[in-house]
């Protein structure tokens, strides 16, 4: 059986003036790793910021630039707007210099969502690589809040080294639960690391889920996603039930500029969450 759904298009809130940033105040900054940090924001004018897991915002670092960043917080607590950011270039580095009380411009939420509600009643396999855990964390929060609605839930997470792992305290807590199977691995480590070493896809054949009743959600570097999809297909999970989040460069976020065009689709308005079937033919094409 398939979920027969496109990624959930339910918007937390359809932005009324999508090109106008809303000022938000930094409430808290948490350094996750040497190059990645989490910003907790609140609208300066007060109120909440409802969103659906998988959606993103455009964050504007004043005077520097604007970047697409997934919402990594708890959809059940919309009063906190949470973003986890890897500092890779000018804008993300500028966002990394923000401190409590500073202001940042926010446009959003934009884009499609993970089919978290449609997956109820099924097993769930969530596969994240690197910063790809950020857009999937809201799904985990949603599932934990509604745990009885799901079958087996498996979270497989891979990063480059132990120093690159995000949300380590939370992962530790989730691993301690009996109703969540959390497996963490790194590509390389010294002997002081007592966890798993190897690629995240190694976990897939050994994970406990019923392929005929499973929804897979995958986010990470595109090569990792391709290999993960192959493994999942080998386990005979219906490809209708595989979802991926594509995080290629984008500018306007509302389908005007064409910057993030991915074949016939725009990542900003048709994605970032796509059903695998809808982009299957595009994943292996170079230069799009």
């Amino acid at each position: 059986m398939s979920t027969n759904s496109t990624p959930e298009t339910m918007m937390g809130r359809e932005p009324s003036a999508p090109m106008l940033p809303r000022p938000c105040t930094v409430q808290r900054v948490r350094q996750e790793t040497y190059d990645t940090f989490t910003l907790e924001l609140a609208p300066a004018a007060g109120g909440a910021f409802p969103f659906a897991p998988g959606q993103f915002n455009m964050l504007y670092a004043f005077g520097v630039g604007e970047v697409a960043i997934s919402i990594s917080g708890d959809p059940g607590r919309p009063e906190k707007l949470v973003h986890t950011i890897r500092a890779v270039g000018a804008t993300t580095k500028a966002l990394g210099h923000l401190r409590r009380g500073d202001t940042v411009g926010v446009r959003g939420p934009f884009g499609s969502a993970w089919p978290a509600a449609a997956a109820a009643g099924r097993d769930l396999i969530i596969i994240a690589g690197g910063i790809g855990l950020a857009p999937l964390r809201p799904v985990v929060y949603h599932v934990l809040r509604n745990r009885q609605k799901y079958g087996n839930v498996v979270l497989l997470y891979g990063a480059r080294t132990p120093a690159d792992l995000l949300y380590t305290k939370e992962l530790e807590q989730w691993r301690g639960r009996f109703d969540l199977d959390v497996q963490v691995t790194v590509d390389r480590a010294s002997a002081s690391w007592h966890g798993t070493v190897g690629v995240v896809t190694n976990f897939i054949p050994r994970a406990r889920f019923d392929p005929s009743e499973t929804v897979a959600m995958i986010c990470g570097p595109e090569i990792m996603m391709r290999f993960a999809i192959q493994e999942i297909e080998e386990m005979e999970v219906n490809t209708d039930n595989i979802y991926v989040s594509m995080e290629r460069n984008m500018k306007c976020a509302v389908g005007f500029c064409g910057h993030c065009q991915f074949g016939p689709a725009f990542i900003c308005k048709d994605g970032p969450v796509f059903s695998y079937n809808s982009i299957k033919t595009l994943l292996n094409i170079r230069g799009i």
Binding site: R188, S190, G198, P205, R206
Partner: protein, 153 residues
Amino acid sequence: METLERILAEHPFFKGMDQRYLELLTGCASNVRFEAGEYIFRAEEEANQFYLIRQGKVALEAFAPERGPIVILTLDQGEVLGWSWLFPPHRWRFDAQAVEFTRAIALDGACLRKKTEDNHDMGYEFMKRFSQLMARALLATRLQLLNVYELNP
């Protein structure tokens, strides 16, 4: 009671293996356990076994004098450790250390080599399983080499 034959039959590596072959292979098998930190084998030692891991975690390591042990990969429950026993010169290339308390079934290499030479049908079944294992390991290694999480690998 959990007989060795039953344990072998239930391990993913031998899943679907003909009963007659399992009986023959059981003659080469024994139960082993390793404490956390214990080395199962070291590079350059003679490779006379392979292991079906039933519980625990094993790290395959290379020792670099200037850096100490480097973990190449870890193997968990349901996985298979070691194939140097298959080919001459039958020497381990890496160290294998139990990261946590580990229980495994050890299969004796010399015994297996003889039985698979005597019974090529069984040998073929066996080699099919090992080649699949090696192909998977090669794929995983390639993916590891791609260093996919780096922005500019």
